[in-house]
């Protein structure tokens, strides 16, 4: 990887060469930046407050008793999300086992067969396009992998 500092970006304390990013991914780098994430959380919070306030001023058409209460859906969403996550923490204590629990009759304990994958890194990404796919379909170039294996 070329260590060109001009092409490096600093986000969230991590330094990463620009070459290791797909072009489209640059629009999502903010998710690694704590201040950007905090800003996103603030916007989310304000939006939730506005949605709650709308409920107070807007009379909703209801079909179920209790549905018309202020913030009914907001409370259901918030409370049940928390309850489900907390419940899952307790459930995990009961249900979690080692991956070899069902071995050798369960795929949990085995790796996905290598022959069915193509584990290339971003740097090894082949130059493929719709044109190359069209050429493959029309038989104008090799399709790549040869027969054999789990999904090849």
């Amino acid at each position: 990887m070329a260590m060109n500092t001009d092409k490096q970006t600093r986000t969230g304390g991590a330094v990463e060469a620009a070459e290791s990013l797909a072009p489209l991914a640059r629009y999502f780098r903010w998710t690694d930046n704590q201040s950007s994430v905090d800003r996103f959380i603030r916007i989310l919070t304000y939006t939730c407050v506005i949605l709650f306030l709308i409920d107070i001023v807007w009379h909703r058409h209801t079909k179920v008793p209790g549905e018309g209460l202020w913030g009914f859906y907001a409370i259901i969403g918030f409370v049940f999300f928390c309850l489900l996550v907390v419940a899952s923490r307790f459930l995990r204590l009961l249900t979690q086992r080692d991956v070899s629990f069902y071995a050798p009759d369960c795929v949990d304990a085995e790796e996905y067969p290598e022959s069915g994958t193509e584990p290339l890194t971003h740097a090894q990404m082949p130059k493929d396009s719709l044109v190359s796919l069209g050429n493959q379909m029309l038989g104008r170039e090799a399709t790549g992998k040869e027969p054999g294996g789990a999904s090849s």
């Binding site: 989310l44 807007w58 086992r97 795929v107 996905y112 193509e118 090894q124 990404m125 796919l133």
Partner: protein
């Protein structure tokens, strides 16, 4: 139009031809057959077609109406998209299995009688198991065998049910059955197994992650939706389905939440979505049946999209374990965006497909007066957000950086995902396109201010809860593990606690195998004795003897026709 060009038979003929073609033509066949099949399907007018009389029964292979056509269309689209997604696959077994499986599923939804339904029902079981065995590992072989046992059991129950139903009524028509007799109860149970009713659901989460990564995408589309169709056809308005469906929406949530394998998370998520459809079928009103059909249509797309995106991750990283993934958005942004579209669709975000279909079922449930069920569906909607919408994209593409920098998915996978994602958005933005295909005429407007407001409140406050729990450190970290489901009872506990019973079953199996091999050996020996040089079959026969044999065969055919 000849009968053999009817879509189910077209797929089967393609499956038979497939092994004799070159690898490129096999892959092209997987793209061409769904398109051609769809064109033929849409050319059929409403009514019964391809009716064959077999030993006195009229078997209807193409019963065309709005319900069956809707499922036929989405199955064709699913076959096409999964064919494109699996363009790189050159494994003949998988390609033949995919064609035969899709054909059997399409045959199932167009079957006009219970006998042809049974044939296609078993056809899906036999064809689909090869998508699991094609992984070619000892564990997938064992898992495939468990899957096949359950699926064949479902078929046997259907056969037993149809025989009893025929005995009771003298009819084999596949119309509304209702829970009115032991026969219809057995048929209901058979449908329930394929639809993954609670406690009959284990095969789904067990088998789907064990298939090949392209096979999982194919599996996710057909069997369960065919079962939803069968329930809608035979048991619409059966009240018990409302409660079964409500339970189905809820219990997989907990199992999905603790699961580390994302393909299994999606399998549980699929199970939960099936619950919504089953509730709609149980309510039985025009609105709810429309909702179930629409949700099945959308579910094939967004669930397939989610399986495709996780499959693309497996293709590049070799794993679908959340504990080993994270930060992949850096190098797989297209896959990430498609996954987000699937996640938004499944949690019914406005402008995505799930919103326009799930609303129908929720409203039907509310209007029906089943308030507890309505609340269960609402909680299940939050649950979907917890275990799929946030968990799958967040833990795979964001969260902690796993350090993995895989290449983006190959172009054919990206194209399949983008097309599927586009359909999810198009249906979400223009719901009229989907509504025009539904079984009953629709006067429903999902984009009212009330609908959008409450859905946004539900989803955004749930997202806020996620942020709060994350800040408090209460959101659980995934660790590499196996999570127990109820199948632990027969897979582990009973065999461990009752070794004598296990040994008895093993001995019985060995004995049955030995007996079957013995019969096979005897038969083979007899054929060998009859055909070796100088044996009766190898000798030249006189014309009179041959005439005699022909007359006996013709008499046998005559007797069979008279039965």
């Amino acid at each position: 139009m000849t009968n053999l060009l009817a879509p189910p038979f077209l797929y089967l003929i393609a499956a038979l031809i497939c092994p004799f073609l070159s690898s490129r033509w096999r892959a092209l066949l997987l793209l061409g057959v769904p398109v051609f099949g769809l064109m033929i399907m849409l050319a059929y007018p409403v009514g019964d077609h391809v009716v064959w009389s077999v030993v006195g029964f009229d078997l209807t292979f193409m019963r065309v109406d709005r319900l069956s056509t809707l499922f036929g269309i989405i199955f064709s689209i699913a076959a096409l998209l999964s064919g494109l997604y699996a363009w790189h696959v050159r494994d003949t077994v998988q390609q033949v299995a995919t064609l035969a499986y899709a054909g059997a599923a399409i045959g199932g939804v167009f079957a006009g009688d219970l006998i042809s339904l049974f044939l296609w029902w078993e056809g899906t079981a036999v064809a689909s198991v090869f998508l699991i065995w094609a992984r070619r590992t000892p564990a997938s072989t064992a898992t495939g065998m468990r899957y096949l046992l359950v699926q064949v059991l479902s078929g046997v129950l259907l056969l037993a049910g149809l025989l009893m139903h025929y005995h009771d009524t003298g009819s084999i028509a596949f119309e509304h059955l209702g829970l009115v007799s032991p026969g219809t109860f057995l048929i209901f149970l058979s449908f329930g197994i394929k639809c993954a009713f609670p406690l009959l659901h284990n095969w789904l989460a067990d088998a789907y992650p064990a298939a090949t990564l392209t096979g999982t995408v194919v599996l996710s589309a057909f069997t369960t939706k065919m079962a939803v169709y069968a329930l809608a056809r035979g048991y619409a308005g059966t009240e018990v389905l409302i409660y079964i469906g409500a339970l189905m929406t809820l219990f997989p949530i907990f199992l999905a939440l603790v699961e580390d394998d994302l393909q299994r998370v999606l399998a549980y998520s699929l199970n939960s979505q099936l619950g919504f459809m089953v509730v709609g079928v149980g309510i039985g009103s025009e609105l709810s049946i429309n909702g179930s059909a629409a949700h099945a249509f959308c579910s094939v797309l967004y669930q397939g999209l989610l399986f495709m995106s996780v499959g693309a991750v497996v293709y590049r990283t070799g794993t679908s374990r959340a504990s080993q993934l994270g930060g992949l958005y850096r190098t797989m942004p297209v896959t990430m965006l498609c996954c987000l579209v699937g996640a938004a669709s499944i949690s019914a975000v406005p402008l995505f497909s799930g919103f326009v279909s799930k609303s129908l079922i929720l409203d039907a449930s509310g209007y029906n007066g089943n308030y507890v069920v309505w609340l269960a569906l609402l909680v299940a909607s939050v649950g979907v957000l917890v275990h799929t919408t946030i968990k799958v994209p967040y833990l795979t593409f964001f969260a902690k950086d796993s350090g993995k920098r895989p290449a983006e998915a190959p172009i054919h996978m990206r194209l399949a995902m983008i097309l599927t994602a586009s359909l999810c958005v198009i249906i979400g933005v223009f719901p009229g396109l989907l509504y025009s295909l539904l079984p009953y005429s629709v006067d429903y407007h999902p984009y009212t201010f009330d609908h959008v407001l409450v859905q946004l409140q539900l989803l955004l406050f749930a997202l806020l809860a996620f942020v709060v729990l994350k800040k408090l450190g209460l959101y659980p970290r995934m660790v590499q593990s196996t999570s127990l489901d109820t199948d632990v009872i027969y897979r582990k506990w009973l065999p461990d606690r009752l070794p004598a019973v296990t040994q008895w079953v093993v001995n019985l199996n060995a004995c049955a195998r030995q007996m079957a091999l013995g019969w096979l050996g005897t038969g083979y020996g007899m054929v060998e004795r009859l055909t070796r040089p100088g044996a009766p079959l190898a000798r030249g026969w006189s014309v009179a003897s041959m005439m005699f044999v022909v007359i006996v065969l013709m008499c046998a055919v005559l007797v069979l026709n008279l039965l």
